[in-house]
């Protein structure tokens, strides 16, 4: 720990320019993706598991987020086959909320921005040693005792006024690691798995995720996780000195002590 402390005090670097730029492009992309994602979900606010899910099959979760929620505008059902358990067809008689024309196209346009920026960020993080030095937890930080200690500090909202720049706390490293290497990639992979063209080319993609609807549900879960992260992230920025942190992440202030 003493060694870590001295490293923090002697290292006077702020956030690298490429980190700052990619941070804000990803932030902007994420917020647009979240917004358009909600618009898309409002067209069909039901989530399922497996390959298939529609208004005539049971849902895993129904979200009360548009007039389409349990709209009930369905004509009588007609069975496809003679048996009692036959799947059915029904005509929709309700004029649903659907802004997917621009919603989907904007979602996919911004997804390009996120994926390209994310790709460059991952390469740069790997080759500049940013990940090794700042994101991947050090051996001492893998100890459950250290992690637990930092968790307790956070639970009591005892957030130390951070030095600016990439000298992250233990829990902070774990969180950034999860967001960069697990949640965001999972959001991209589940997004790709929903494309019928990609599913035809790489059947394994929706396959390992449990099917098209499972991919869609996991995609929604990544959105929820990233929103929670955003909430906590902003809270921590405020607790650790909002003005200083914002200056460090925008114009790139360095430590002066």
């Amino acid at each position: 720990m003493a060694e870590l402390q001295s490293a923090v005090q002697t290292d006077k670097t702020g956030h690298a320019r490429w980190v700052r730029i990619s941070h804000w492009i990803v932030t902007l992309s994420f917020l647009t993706l979240a917004f358009t994602g909600i618009v898309i979900l409002m067209a069909h606010p039901r989530l399922y598991w497996g390959e298939v899910g529609n208004d005539l099959t049971p849902a895993l979760l129904e979200l009360p987020i548009s007039r389409n929620h349990r709209h009930g505008g369905w004509d009588k059902t007609v069975a496809f086959f003679e048996n009692a358990a036959s799947p059915v067809s029904a005509n929709r008689t309700y004029d649903i909320f659907n802004k997917n024309g621009w919603g989907r196209s904007l979602h996919f346009l911004v997804a390009w921005l996120l994926v390209l920026t994310g790709g460059i960020y991952l390469l740069a993080g790997l080759f500049t040693g940013h990940f090794r030095r700042h994101i991947v937890p050090r051996r001492t930080e893998l100890s459950p005792k250290v992690l637990l200690g930092d968790m307790l500090d956070h639970a009591r909202l005892r957030i130390r006024t951070a030095t600016v720049g990439p000298h992250y706390g233990v829990l902070q490293k774990y969180t950034y690691f999860a967001v960069v290497f697990l949640v965001l990639p999972l959001a991209v992979v589940t997004g790709l798995a929903m494309s019928p063209a990609i599913a035809a080319a790489i059947p394994l993609l929706p396959g390992i995720l449990g099917g098209f609807q499972s991919a869609r549900t996991i995609h929604f879960v990544t959105f929820v996780l990233l929103m929670l992260f955003l909430l906590v992230h902003v809270l921590m920025i405020i607790k650790s000195g909002f003005k200083r942190q914002m200056r460090a992440m925008t114009i790139g202030d360095k430590n002066e002590d």
Binding site: R46, R92, G101
Partner: protein, 252 residues
């Protein structure tokens, strides 16, 4: 160490530049959908170009087994013969009354033998049955069994000309849409007259609908009326997707 890093970095740069070049090149050799300067349509076009540059051309959509067939909502137009429907068609109503015995689909444009095909004519071609997933842009999905004639067979019979690049479809509920040759000649692209072992029902597009299995459901147009083979992409004007604010390419 440093040298190793440099080489890897350079290799990655080269790999990146080459694949991006591939993307651009394929964009030049193919006709891309129009964007009309709209940034959203530019994004759609980028996706289209990327899919065609990076994905195998003739990959087949997954086919399921009979037990996977699911319930299937019918949305959009569910009866073009219904006079209360703003997009109702007098001609369709007449055809419907006659059990579609008088229904003919016209194949025109860049074909040596333009002509009319009845339902019986289409059924004389070798048929294809496929159990596939219908994926709606709204977010739902359903699995159904479709029987029909591969579009490639019909285009062959009509003698499609080598300059042909796109196939445009018109429907009785007043839509127009088109697909490129990769999708038009894809083995799973069929003119479907049967669903789940029966004649295609009216809510699902009777007597004949299109199935384009590698794109979203809205490309699988119902209530087909005529087919036109073209060299230039016909966006369908105000009957088409683009002018109604939707992506022409719906592989995503």
């Amino acid at each position: 160490m440093k040298t190793n890093n440099l080489i890897t970095r350079r290799n990655i740069l080269i790999a990146g530049v080459t694949s991006f070049g591939g993307l651009l090149l394929s964009g030049c050799s193919r006709k891309l959908p129009p964007t009309y300067g709209n940034i959203l349509r530019m994004g759609d076009t980028l996706t289209y170009a990327a899919h065609h540059a990076l994905l195998p051309d003739q990959a087949l959509a997954r086919e399921y087994s009979q037990k996977d067939i699911s319930s299937f909502p019918a949305i959009g137009t569910t009866d073009p013969g219904d006079p209360n429907n703003p997009k109702s068609s007098e001609i369709y109503r007449h055809l419907q009354r006659g059990g579609f015995a008088d229904w003919r689909i016209s194949i025109a444009g860049l074909v040596a033998q333009p002509g009319l095909y009845s339902l019986a004519d289409l059924k004389r071609f070798p048929s294809r049955t496929q159990i596939t997933r219908h994926t709606c842009e709204e977010g739902w999905s359903a699995i159904g069994e479709w029987t029909g004639v591969p579009l490639s067979r019909v285009l062959d019979a009509a003698g499609m000309l080598p300059t042909a690049r796109f196939v445009t479809f018109y429907s009785y509920d007043d839509w127009a849409d088109s697909i490129d040759m990769l999708d038009a000649l894809h083995p799973q692209t069929i003119l479907a007259y049967g669903m789940n072992g029966r004649d295609l029902s009216i809510p699902h597009g009777a007597p004949v609908r299109l199935r384009v299995e590698r794109q979203m459901g809205y490309k699988s147009m119902k209530y087909l009326e005529r087919i036109v083979v073209t060299e230039e992409l016909d966006d369908g004007g105000e009957k088409g997707n683009i002018q109604n604010g939707w992506s022409w390419y719906a592989g995503i």
